[in-house]
């Protein structure tokens, strides 16, 4: 994925591939920050358990390599194992987090960070079939947090 200067703010629906592609573009446009944070090498899944049509799951997998997000693609739940880990939660939890990030201009409230939301297994959890691959979520947690924090740079719409 080429680094590109993000286009002017434009509302994007969540969840959608386009929403995550915007995050990837924002990350890639700020390589200097990524070089400060360090390498990030993993395939991260982001699942909204009721984010698809008719309340079905919606899953996106983002490939991070070195200092960039190199691929964003929608995945079926059956393809979950292709990700090193998948951050999973209902739309309401995702929405609260994204709105908190927006309200904080890129810094979520204390109770709305990725680790905060996933650590106890509710309202979100981190799924992986391999403890070593799950640990990548922790090894790159600051990068992943800043990845979603970038959503403050554009407006997000929600179907519900």
């Amino acid at each position: 994925m080429q680094a590109a200067v993000p286009s002017p703010p434009q509302a994007l629906p969540f969840p959608s591939v386009a929403w995550f592609e915007r995050l990837a573009a924002l990350m890639n446009a700020n390589r200097a920050r990524q070089e400060q944070l360090g390498f990030c090498d993993c395939v991260a899944g982001f699942a909204v358990t009721d984010g698809g049509p008719d309340g079905q799951p919606f899953v996106v997998q983002v490939t991070f390599e070195e200092f960039a997000a190199t691929d964003v693609r929608e995945a079926t739940p059956a393809e979950a194992a292709q990700a090193d880990f998948t951050v999973t939660g209902p739309l309401a939890a995702w929405r609260a987090m994204i709105e908190s990030i927006a309200a904080g201009n890129g810094r979520p409230a204390l109770e709305q960070t990725l680790n905060r939301l996933t650590h106890m297994g509710t309202p979100m959890h981190v799924a992986s079939d391999d403890p070593l691959r799950r640990d990548l979520y922790f090894r790159y947690n600051q990068t992943l947090q800043e990845f979603v924090n970038a959503s403050a740079a554009f407006a997000t719409t929600f179907a519900r």
């Binding site: 090498d41 960070t113 905060r116 650590h119 070593l132 640990d135 922790f138 600051q142």
Partner: protein, 456 residues
């Protein structure tokens, strides 16, 4: 009960007050600690406090006096001088030869002859720079021996064989076998560690730190005090072994150096956080026993199992909990940064253990040996993770205040189960089936229900 009374030690509290501390402040039924369960599980005597004369097994009570300042240097210098003048005389011949050549105005230039070396194949950087993997891909430089027989500082891949007979041996290089050191992810972890370093002085938004309510501030500072106490063992342990590792395992030595740096930074950041919040508070006794047991582990693999896989795995859970319960963005940042580092150390611990098991000539015997070690190691580590100076501050932060400590303990019980389950998953990932024999209860000792853990 006044707040400051609750901060006293058990012995300072009126007998009737101590167990009511939670009940006074909460509508919940007070947590009843089933000490008989703990006693059964741990198979250790439980009393009201340290027996007269000190804790059982505590060396401090009968320890010899601390050494005086650095021993008189004249004896040490005399021994050193005599050794290098009379015993290790190889350097004299080298010096004489070199001096005579230089006096004659002659050059050697033997080093230009690379007939016995690996000259001319240039390492090429990958997209992320020139990594150890890139240089190891060059023929002659990436062959990592199963057993190192170069017990000196000569670089792997250099022309060194012609000089072997004249070179000294470093007696301290005793970790000569690759199993027991190596992990298949060690190069990745080393490069990642360098790339993800951070600075506890400048990368934390210290200027945003504002005082918390007293109970939360004290809980935060107490937790940070204990974390300051425990962090440096994860520097001291690799340091203890690093100097025993020959240079041919340069990737392992390099990674251990990053772990030492990481732990220095963790000790630094937690110390700074405590002092910025009011001060360092109480040191933990159980922590000291756990740290001593780690440091004195009989082998590098055993110590790495106890430190990286078990101990740091549990500390990783505490860091994640710390991020979760942080009451300021400063604390969030501290714990999030630290948990990243800790996860690297855990990852090394799992894969180092796996490599050792996979390469062991008698895997069954190796596993039996590790079970025996873990039977004790787990309990000693547990002495740290049951200390009130660690458990109670987390419970207060988790609950949201001293008056909600009972809620916090309920949450702690869930975190306990998660952390121990993750430990067992990591054991299984390494090829060590520990679940049926684990000495740490899967359910927290104060949980209202749960199976009695298997005991060996």
């Amino acid at each position: 009960m006044r707040l400051d009374q609750c901060w006293g030690t058990d012995s300072e509290l009126p007998e009737d007050d101590a167990p009511q501390c939670g009940a006074r402040h909460s509508a919940l039924v007070p947590i009843v600690i089933d000490t008989s369960l703990i006693t059964r599980v741990l198979a250790l005597p439980v009393g009201d406090g340290p027996p007269e004369g000190g804790l059982h097994g505590n060396r401090a009570a009968s320890a010899p006096p601390l050494p005086q300042a650095t021993p008189t240097t004249s004896e040490g210098v005399t021994a050193y001088v005599e050794a290098y003048e009379r015993e290790y005389t190889g350097w004299m011949a080298v010096l004489q030869r070199n001096a005579e050549r230089l006096a004659r105005g002659q050059y050697s230039l033997h080093w230009l002859d690379m007939a016995q070396g690996h000259w001319g194949r240039r390492a090429r950087p990958s997209s992320r720079g020139l990594t150890y993997t890139d240089t190891n891909n060059v023929k002659g430089f990436g062959e990592i021996p199963e057993r190192a027989d170069w017990l000196n500082f000569t670089p792997r891949g250099a022309v060194r064989e012609p000089y072997r007979a004249e070179m000294p041996v470093i007696d301290e290089y005793t970790q000569v076998d690759r199993p027991g050191l190596w992990a298949d992810n060690v190069i990745t972890l080393y490069e990642e560690a360098k790339a993800r370093q951070w600075n506890a002085t400048r990368d934390i938004p210290w200027h945003e730190l504002a005082p918390l309510p007293e109970d939360l501030e004290k809980a935060t500072c107490q937790l940070c005090t204990v974390l300051t106490q425990v962090e440096f063992v994860a520097g001291d342990f690799p340091a203890k072994w690093m100097y025993r590792i020959p240079q041919d395992f340069l990737e392992v030595k390099s990674f251990l150096a990053t772990q030492i740096m990481d732990e220095a930074r963790h000790q630094e950041v937690f110390r700074k956080r405590a002092i910025a919040g009011g001060g360092l508070m109480h040191a933990g006794v159980g922590q000291e026993w756990a740290l001593k047991a780690i440091l004195e582990s009989p082998t590098h693999t055993m110590g790495t199992f106890l430190l990286n896989l078990l101990g740091e795995g549990l500390v990783l859970s505490i860091f994640r909990s710390g991020e979760m319960i942080a009451k300021t963005h400063v604390d969030k940042d501290i714990f999030r940064r630290c948990l990243q580092d800790e996860a690297r150390h855990v990852s090394y611990g799992v894969m180092e253990f796996k490599y050792w098991l996979d390469q062991h000539p008698d895997r069954e015997q190796a596993i039996a040996q590790m079970h025996r070690f873990a039977d004790v190691g787990e309990l000693i580590i547990l002495s740290s993770f049951t200390e009130p100076v660690m458990v109670e501050p987390i419970a207060i932060l988790l609950g949201g205040g001293l008056d909600k400590i009972d809620y916090g303990m309920e949450g702690m019980a869930k975190l306990w189960t998660m952390a121990i389950d993750e430990y067992l998953q990591r054991c299984e990932r390494a090829g060590f089936p520990r679940r049926a024999r684990c000495r740490i209860p899967l359910d927290a000792p104060w949980a209202s229900s749960g199976a009695v853990p298997a005991t060996a």
